[in-house]
C-alpha cells in the first residue's frame, strides 16, 4: 500500500499512532501529532510504501516536550526510541526536524553500509556520485537532475552495500536551502516542493518530492560509474578538470559518515568504488551546462 492510498483524516490518525514507512532498505515507524508532519509526509512521501510492518529499523517521533514550551512559542523534539540527539526546534520546523532526524538515524547507525556524504543519481545504468562540498551547489544540481529524468538514489547519504559494493537507494525527498528553493521552483513545473521552514540554523529549508519512478524503483541497486566533484563559480563556463583517485579517495574517506568504524572493509569498499569509477571535477555557473555535461557523461 502507498501512503497516497490512505485518506487524509485516516492518515493523521495513523501517524499519531505510528505509521510504518519504507525508505530504501530501512523501515521507519514515524509517530507524531504535529499537523506539519502529516502535511509533509502526505505531499512528499505520497508514493512511498507504508506498513503496518512487524520489524522496523528505527522508531522515531516528533513531539512537543513537556513544560511551558508546549504552548508559548511551541517547540518540537525529534526522538529515536526515546533518545533525543538534537535540541528542540520551533514547532513550524517539525517536518524539517523529522527529515534531519531520519538522516541522523541512518548516518549514525546503518553500519551495514559504507556511508559517504554525497548525492548519488542514476541514468542508463550508471550511478554518478556527487560528494557534498560546500559551494558545490549540490542540492540544486541534484534537484535539477531529478527533474530532468535522472533516478534519485540519495541527496545526502550515499549507501554502499558492504556485500557487493553497489549503491543502495533511499529515494527520499531532496533537501533545498535558501536561494535554491526558488531556483528549482522556476526550473520545472513538475517540481512539487513542500512547505518552507524559515530561519532554521541552515536558513530557509524546503524539500522536493522525489519522482514516482525513483520511489517505485527503490529496491533496485545501481553500479557506481562516475565520481564528479562539482564547484559552482559565478559566471563560469563549464570546464572539466582531472581529479586523481588517490586524493579523491582521501576526500571521500574523510567526509564519509562511518569510514573509521568499518576498518579494512571501509578501505576495500572505497578502493573498489574508485576502481570502477571515472573521477573528475567540474566548474560551472549555469545549471543547463551542468545538466548537459551529466547527460553526456552517461550517454
Amino acid at each position: 500500500m502507498r501512503l497516497s492510498d490512505i485518506p487524509a483524516a485516516a492518515l493523521t490518525e495513523r501517524i499519531a499512532a505510528g505509521l510504518g514507512l519504507q525508505t530504501g532498505p530501512f523501515r521507519f515507524l514515524v509517530q507524531s501529532s504535529e499537523a506539519g508532519v502529516a502535511r509533509g509526509l502526505s505531499q512528499l512521501y505520497a508514493d512511498f510504501e507504508v506498513g503496518p510492518f512487524d520489524l522496523h529499523d528505527f522508531h522515531v517521533s516528533i513531539r512537543r516536550p513537556a513544560g511551558l514550551r508546549r504552548w508559548i512559542r511551541p517547540q518540537v523534539e525529534f526522538a529515536m526510541d526515546g533518545f533525543s540527539p538534537f535540541i528542540p526546534l520551533p514547532a513550524d520546523h517539525a517536518f524539517a526536524q523529522l527529515e534531519w532526524g531520519m538522516n541522523w538515524c541512518i548516518a549514525a547507525h546503518a553500519h551495514h553500509y559504507l556511508m559517504l556524504h554525497a548525492a548519488v543519481l542514476e541514468k542508463n545504468g550508471q550511478a554518478v556520485i556527487l560528494p557534498g562540498d560546500p559551494g558545490a551547489g549540490k542540492s540544486t544540481l541534484t534537484a535539477a537532475l531529478v527533474l530532468s529524468g535522472w533516478r534519485l538514489l540519495s541527496d545526502e547519504i550515499t549507501l554502499i552495500d558492504r556485500d557487493d559494493g553497489q549503491i543502495v537507494p533511499l529515494a527520499r525527498p531532496v533537501s533545498l536551502k535558501n536561494a535554491s528553493i526558488d531556483i528549482i521552483r522556476s526550473f520545472s513545473q513538475a517540481a512539487s516542493i513542500g512547505e518552507t521552514a524559515l530561519d532554521t540554523h541552515k536558513g530557509s529549508v524546503a524539500h522536493l518530492r522525489p519522482m514516482p519512478d525513483s520511489v517505485l524503483r527503490m529496491d533496485e541497486k545501481a553500479q557506481p560509474r562516475h565520481i564528479v566533484f562539482p564547484r559552482w563559480k559565478s559566471q563560469a563556463l563549464l570546464t572539466r578538470h582531472p581529479q586523481d583517485k588517490a586524493s579523491a579517495f582521501i576526500h571521500l574517506a574523510s567526509h564519509a559518515f562511518n569510514y573509521n568504524l568499518l576498518g579494512p572493509l571501509a578501505f576495500r569498499l572505497t578502493k573498489n568504488t574508485l576502481d570502477t569509477c571515472t573521477c573528475q571535477r567540474i566548474w560551472y555557473s549555469q545549471l543547463d551546462d551542468a545538466l548537459a555535461f551529466f547527460s553526456e557523461l552517461v550517454a
Binding site: P25, L55, G82, H109, A110, H111, H112, L261, G263, L265
Partner: protein, 360 residues
C-alpha cells in the same frame, strides 16, 4: 514481576533462541539491545553459534553493523595497548590492565561485541607521578572538564583525572587502586598485582587473575552511579563466570579471594542478579544472604531496577527512585560526608545551569 526484556536476557544466555524469534519480537529486542549497548554482543554470540542464516536479514544487518564497529574499537584498543607498553616499559613496574583492556588483551569471550570507550590501567601509587610524566611526554593530556573536576580527582579522590591522547583522541584512566582511596571499603591492590599474569609479547603489561577479573568487574558494577550499562556489565560477568562454574573448587576460591580483597559485598549483589536474571547456577552456600544489616536486602531490588533501567519497555514507576538511590549511594561509597554534600550540590547546580541554557 514480568520481565520486559526476557527475550533479550534469554538471547544473551542461550543465543540459539534468537533463531525462533518473530519479527515483532525482534523489533523490541533490537531496540532494547541498542539502548543497553548489547547489539554487537548479540551479533558476536549469533556468529559463534553459526546460526546467522536463520535470523531475519533486516535484523542481522543491524546486529552486524554494530559488531563491525565494536571489532574496530577492539583493534584500536590493541594498538593502544602496544603503544602504552612502549611508553611505560621504562618505569620498570607492572602495568595492570583492567576490565575491557584485559578482556581484549586476553581475547576473552567477554570482549566479544563489547564496545571499548577507554582503557583502564592500574599501577602502584609510588609510580603514579612517573607514569603521568611518561604519558604526558608521549602525547597524553589530563582531561578534566574544569578546575572543580581536576580537584575532585586529584585532591579528593587521589586519582589522576582521565587522560586523552592529543592526536589519537583515545581515553585512558590511570588508577592506583580498585576503588577510590576515599571509599568506605578498603581494598588491596597490591594483592591483585601479586596474582597478576604477565601478557606474553609485551614488556610491562599484566592482566589480573581470573578470580580478580570477576571481583573487579563486580565491584565496578555495584559502585557505578550510572546504570545505563548495568545489563551489559552483567552480561560481561556472565561470560567471565561461564568457563569456571563447573570447575572443582572454583566457588570456594572465589569466596576466599573476595574475603581477602574485602569485596564480599559486591560479589554477593552481583551473584544474586546473575542468578535471578541470568539463571546462573550458583551453589546455595555461596548465594547465601549477607549476615546482619537490613540495607543489603533492599539493595537487591534497587540494583535490579537499576540494571533494567536502560529502556522504556523495562522501566517502572520505581525506576527513577532506584536511580536516585544508586546515584547518591555510589557517591556515598566513594566520598566521605564532608565532601559528598558540597559535591552533589555542585553537580546539581551545574546540571540546572546547562538545562536552562538549552531551553533559551
Amino acid at each position: 514481576m514480568k520481565l520486559g526484556c526476557a527475550e533479550l536476557i534469554h538471547a544473551l544466555t542461550q543465543p540459539t533462541s534468537m533463531a525462533s524469534l518473530s519479527p515483532t519480537q525482534w523489533d523490541l529486542l533490537l531496540r532494547q539491545a541498542r539502548a543497553a549497548g548489547l547489539l554487537a554482543r548479540l551479533a558476536a554470540l549469533a556468529q559463534q553459534e553459526k546460526n546467522v542464516d536463520q535470523l531475519p536479514k533486516q535484523a542481522w544487518h543491524i546486529l552486524e553493523g554494530d559488531l563491525t564497529f565494536a571489532q574496530q574499537q577492539a583493534t584500536a584498543a590493541r594498538y593502544e595497548l602496544r603503544l602504552l607498553d612502549r611508553t611505560l616499559k621504562k618505569l620498570d613496574t607492572p602495568v595492570l590492565l583492567l576490565k575491557g583492556g584485559a578482556y581484549v588483551a586476553l581475547n576473552h569471550a567477554a570482549s566479544a561485541g563489547r564496545f571499548m570507550t577507554d582503557i583502564d590501567i592500574l599501577i602502584t601509587k609510588a609510580h603514579l607521578q612517573d607514569a603521568e610524566s611518561a604519558l604526558t611526554a608521549a602525547g597524553w593530556m589530563t582531561h578534566s572538564k574544569d578546575a572543580y573536576d581536576e580537584r575532585y580527582y586529584r585532591a579528593w579522590m587521589h586519582e589522576l583525572p582521565p587522560m586523552r591522547h592529543m592526536s589519537r583522541h583515545t581515553l585512558l584512566d590511570v588508577h592506583h587502586n580498585l576503588l577510590p582511596e576515599t571509599a568506605r571499603i578498603r581494598t588491596h591492590p597490591e594483592q591483585v598485582l601479586a596474582s597478576a599474569h604477565r601478557l606474553p609479547g609485551y614488556h610491562c603489561l599484566y592482566v589480573p587473575d581470573h578470580l580478580d577479573l570477576i571481583l573487579h568487574s563486580a565491584t565496578h558494577l555495584v559502585y557505578e552511579g550510572e546504570w545505563g550499562h548495568g545489563l551489559r556489565d552483567l552480561s560481561d560477568l556472565y561470560l567471565l563466570f561461564a568457563p569456571h562454574v563447573h570447575e572443582a573448587g572454583f566457588w570456594q576460591h572465589l569466596l576466599a579471594r573476595a574475603h581477602e580483597l574485602n569485596l564480599q559485598n559486591p560479589l554477593h549483589y552481583v551473584l544474586v542478579q546473575l542468578q535471578t536474571l541470568f539463571g546462573l547456577s550458583v551453589p546455595v552456600a555461596v548465594a547465601r544472604p549477607l549476615p546482619g544489616r537490613g540495607v543489603p536486602y533492599l539493595m537487591t531490588p534497587v540494583i535490579r531496577l537499576g540494571v533494567l533501567s536502560f529502556h522504556a519497555s523495562c522501566r517502572t514507576w520505581l525506576t527513577p527512585v532506584a536511580e536516585f538511590v544508586l546515584y547518591v549511594r555510589s557517591h556515598w561509597l566513594r566520598m566521605p560526608p564532608h565532601l559528598l554534600i558540597p559535591h552533589l550540590l555542585y553537580k546539581a547546580w551545574k546540571r540546572r545551569v546547562s538545562e536552562k541554557k538549552s531551553q533559551d
